[in-house]
Amino acid sequence: MIEKRRTIPMPVRYLINTVLVLALFGLFAGLIQGGMIDGYSTTVLSLAGINIILAVSLNVATGYLGQLPLGHAGFMAVGAYTGGIFLKGVNASDLGGPLYALAILVALVLSGVVAAIFGVLIGVPALRLRGDYLAIITLGFGEIIRVIIQNIDDVLGFEFTGGISGLKRIPSFTNFYIVLACVVVSCLVIHMIMKSHHGRAILAIRENEIAAESSGINTTYYKVMAFSLSAFFAGVAGCLYAGHIGSLVPKDFGFMKSIEILVNVVLGGMGSMIGSILSASVLTILPEALRALEDYRMVAYSLALIVVMIFKPSGLMGQYDFSMSRILEKFLNRGGYKTAAKAKGGDKQ
């Protein structure tokens, strides 16, 4: 008597996830309203959210596509400057009510789109190369973006990016709820794309590029797609960052920032979204909690990176991804599925 494996139908899965997300919103709203989380902690949480988006977006290129781009901060810079310049241009802080909300929405989308365009522009030539050379060329592009932002004002002859002293007085629109919403939307979109046949194609390229190509997958197209998807959300995160900090300096978006994002992804586990989320939050919040040990922070970071690589090269979570529905399904199948599995095992013998 083999019982069929009980599964949760898709609409119910969506319902479960919606309820979970709403509960998360409610939890944070309650904690903030109730004064359990003070203003300072809220800013730290916002920063953690921004880092989560950065890590999750880099994870698309690193974990799912299997490449190693070292210029993620460049895309973030593009998004941050796009958002900052746009919001300053429309004088967002003077707008009221719905117009203000619209301006922010447009800024976020625009930052993502411009960053994605840069992603395509850089991806098309860069993705012709493989492995280390791809890493180097993206590193080069990242540095070039930074140098251009730094010097473009002299060429244009008017103030555009603010040069080396930076872009100042950007309307600081970022609050915790906007960040949380963006985190949810980014994770959702990336998750849905990765579960679609486009996502499967990207994973196939990671597993074996030649095999994928001979199975009829247009590898160039999907590589550029994954790359620009990654750039898009880096741009959104950059825009949020601009609204969080209020002023941008080109040197914040150097090689080191790219590495910092990479550390988040690698420690969490390349190819694991929950890993990226966890490590980005922990690595943002922990140093704030341990202010006293500020000096040792970066040393600890790098040591952790080396130790994790030596003892668990796939990262802390490996490729494991969290799924509420899967856990619920396990509960549902506690009795029946086991017998089915046993029956199957019996067949083999």
């Binding site: 140098v147 030649i210 690589m309 090269p313």
Partner: protein, 294 residues
């Protein structure tokens, strides 16, 4: 006359920084050639070398030559120790893990130096002073010494790689690790030796660097390393003459860009040249073309 002398003096500047880049690039290239690792920590070895020179000359008031020797020895030791601790356990791990470990080591050295030596830059006393006037061109002794020392090191290195037994072992390991091992070549010894030679060159590079730009700071290695690394890739990573050509090219390009008055664009131009070269010739100027087998 003044234009020509200006061009020549910029050329000398370019050759000077180019030879430093070339020395550092050689380290990158040799390590890549043997274990296919981009050793990100290489630039930071230079930084440690610079601090050794600084402390040897100020705190212990050693003779400059002793300081130089000490720096080279310290760099060599550091390079081999890093290889033993961080890279050897990962020899069979995926390449990506190895690369990320290298980034981690680089981070560790930079932040460790910041912790130990402080974040501020230290002024290293100059030990090569003066210069000569040749025609209308002023030649600093520093430039002359830098260029001569690097050319000499490159000649020694070429001899080492081409004519000695260890050099032969190095070439064999980079050709085919498994086959080399079957021929009785000790992998560990050869790889350690490669790291030692590369780091010694970085040590020489660091001494030449501080004699030209007399400052030591925790992050000095990162940009220098990055540029040297670009030089190695430009020339064809894994190729020794390629690294030399790449180094001199980067130095001359930088001097040229500075001479035209666009010094703020210097870094951007260097990377742009790299990208163009890689797109035209994906393995660099002298790199071997890799064919992929299914």
């Amino acid at each position: 006359m003044s234009l020509i002398s200006q061009i020549i003096s910029q050329l000398v500047n370019g050759l000077q920084s180019g030879s430093i880049y070339a020395l550092v690039a050689l380290g990158y290239s040799m390590v890549y050639g043997i274990i296919l690792l981009l050793n990100f920590a290489h630039g930071d070895i230079i930084m440690v070398g610079a601090y050794v020179v600084f402390y040897a000359m100020t705190s212990f008031s050693l003779h400059p030559l002793a300081a130089v020797l000490l720096a080279v020895i310290a760099c060599t030791l550091l390079g081999t120790v890093i290889e033993k601790i961080a890279y050897t356990p990962l020899r069979s791990a995926p390449r990506l893990s190895l690369l990320i470990t290298a980034i981690g080591v680089s981070f560790l050295l930079e932040n460790g130096a910041q912790l130990v030596f402080g974040a501020g830059a230290k002024n290293v006393p100059t030990f090569i002073e003066g210069g000569i006037q040749v025609g209308g061109v002023y030649l600093g002794y520093v430039s002359v010494v830098t260029i001569l020392v690097s050319v000499a090191s490159m000649i020694v290195l070429t001899f080492l790689v081409q004519k000695t037994k260890l050099g032969k072992a190095m070439r064999a390991v980079s050709e085919d690790m498994g086959a080399a091992q079957l021929m009785g070549i000790s992998l560990n010894r050869t790889i350690s030796f490669t790291f030692a030679v590369g780091s010694a060159l970085a040590g020489i590079g660091s001494v030449l660097y501080v004699s030209a730009y007399p400052q030591a700071s925790p992050t000095m290695g990162s940009m220098l390393g990055l540029k040297a690394f670009v030089a190695a890739v430009l020339g064809g990573i894994g190729s020794i003459p390629g690294a030399m050509i790449g180094g001199f090219m980067i130095g001359l390009i930088e001097a040229l860009v500075t001479a035209v008055g666009l010094s703020t664009w210097k870094d951007g131009v260097v990377f742009a040249v790299l990208i163009v070269v890689l797109l035209v010739k994906p393995t660099g100027i002298l790199g071997r073309k890799m064919t992929e087998k299914v």
